[in-house]
Subunit: 314 residues, 2 copies
């Protein structure tokens, strides 16, 4: 019942140490070390190297170490075992910190007042809208979208959300399915993207979608915030929309290629805020505790929390 | 029963127009115009010119047009009539937008990531604390402090408040009086100042107070946010505390002299964020409606909402 740590971009040895602490008495090995593939019952993966999931005859489950599991679902070597994603209230809270911060920063013109400070200018905006005057639309109403939406509503924003199937949430107006997408976009001043990345959502945030956002809002044009996955967005379309005024501004934590390549115009576009995919970092202690709990559930014959629906892909 | 508009820094004629709309049929005059002083029953004031409150034999009440009334209470010509301050849920919400925005901006190192973007650097902070790791202390627990505290708690911050007398509020640990001030400061990583300005609070935020803030927090040093009144703070002490590391950073919306003089080092200090006293601007429609309601209450023999306690000064 050995656990294999297979991570590309995060330090595997650090994760292995953490799993040894969370799973005392259990053997933990790292991809690339020598081990008997027949011993491996579990894989803990974050952007696992190619082939890491291949040739493990006794594999019982794969655990993702972040909120999304797209990199696992896309792995051609993924066998038909349960895939389990992290459910971590701490990660959810951090995502909401990021979303509320950046919605408020746009509402309250953070960068305008920074520029004024640099220029030594004392001047306020008598037409400053309040949060209740601004319509935030959450694209994706999973655990992250729901928590962010609830907190945005507490701050006073006029909040709606869109998801594949209708969701009930106090203070969040719910839109569902393709048919209601245009109405959702047309009432959205700040679009917050928190969709899972699946074959159905790749490239979803494109020119056409951006062109559907509200033109009559109080912020001088619609604003995009993507804290989901980079491949949900078409960056050439975002830049074109910023250049022609379809979008007023964008705050992006995720990119089609990460780290964001030095040549990308997103780095220097005056209306773009770039953060280095840190909106909601996994808390390693919470993640390893979650994995340990789900291994115990699996071995007790129970359904793990965070089990991925293979048909939906998340 | 004429109402006199007496404002120094805001356009008196614009206010007069708004009061004419809110109080149809009532005469509205502006300080500096010709009028019979015996006609004046009410004054609507915002930093009224010297002498504006003098020689009004039939004055019945003075209304402040902002959340604080310090400029009225300090007026040597203020007679012994009721002073009424604005109670405006919209103003409260806007103040909480500002406070939550700037607490989150410090938590999530907004300026660090901006600088990284300018430099084309992709690098995150693996030690990023969560909101629950950061202790916010509200200096002042009136309507503004309570609302901001409640919203900060929803965002996950560890919130306490200090006020003259103990206040009960869910999710906010209450400290009261001089005796509990040191314990309050010692558990505060971000100090949010929302006190009223009175003779007792002038210069309250000084070197000694700042030196009492927590030294063991997760933000690399304590942070000051003043969105109350500028004369609560001693700016030379704040600069000295920033220079010697007693304070890590300061976000200031208010200043001892406003507009902030061009010569002030606060404009250019790398650890200071300056905003032009716009944390919570009064919504003119809400203010004039409030004044109209309180005039109706006074004329019906009722106590106005927002009546200032002359002994406390707010």
């Amino acid at each position: 019942m050995t656990l294999l740590v297979a991570t590309a971009s995060w330090a595997s040895d650090v994760w292995a140490e953490r799993f040894r602490a969370a799973l005392p008495g259990r053997r933990i090995v790292i991809h690339g070390e020598a081990f008997d593939p027949a011993d491996i019952a579990y894989v803990a993966a974050w952007k696992q190297p190619p082939g890491a999931l291949a040739g493990l005859p006794n594999l019982r489950a794969v655990f993702g170490l972040g909120a999304g599991v797209d990199y696992i679902m896309e792995d051609p070597d993924l066998p038909g075992v349960p895939v389990v994603r992290v459910i971590d209230p701490d990660l959810t809270n951090r995502m909401s910190e990021y979303v509320v911060l950046h919605c408020l920063a746009h509402l309250r013109q953070f960068r305008r007042y920074e520029a004024q400070q640099r220029a030594g200018v004392w001047e306020d905006d008598r037409q400053q809208p309040a949060a209740r005057d601004v319509r935030v639309g959450l694209l994706g109403l999973g655990e992250l979208g729901m928590d962010a939406g609830r907190k945005l509503a507490v701050m006073g924003f006029d909040v709606a959300g869109w998801s594949r199937s209708a969701k009930a949430a106090e203070g969040i107006r719910s839109f569902a399915g393709e048919a209601e997408l245009p109405a959702f976009l047309a009432r959205t001043d700040i679009l917050v993207v928190l969709l899972p990345l699946t074959p159905a959502t790749e490239g979803f945030v494109d020119r056409r979608l951006l062109a559907g956002l509200a033109r009559d809002g109080r912020l001088g044009g619609p604003i995009l915030i993507n804290a989901g996955r980079g491949r949900l967005q078409v960056e050439t379309d975002i830049l074109a929309a910023l250049d022609d005024g379809t979008l007023k501004a964008a705050t992006l934590d995720v990119f089609q290629t990460e780290p964001l390549p030095a040549a990308s115009r997103l780095w220097t576009h005056p209306q773009v805020t770039v953060t280095p995919h840190n909106a909601a970092m996994s808390d390693p202690a919470a993640v390893t505790a979650h994995v340990a709990r789900q291994i115990a559930r699996l071995e007790a014959g129970q359904t793990p929390e965070g089990l991925v629906d293979r048909a939906r892909g998340y």
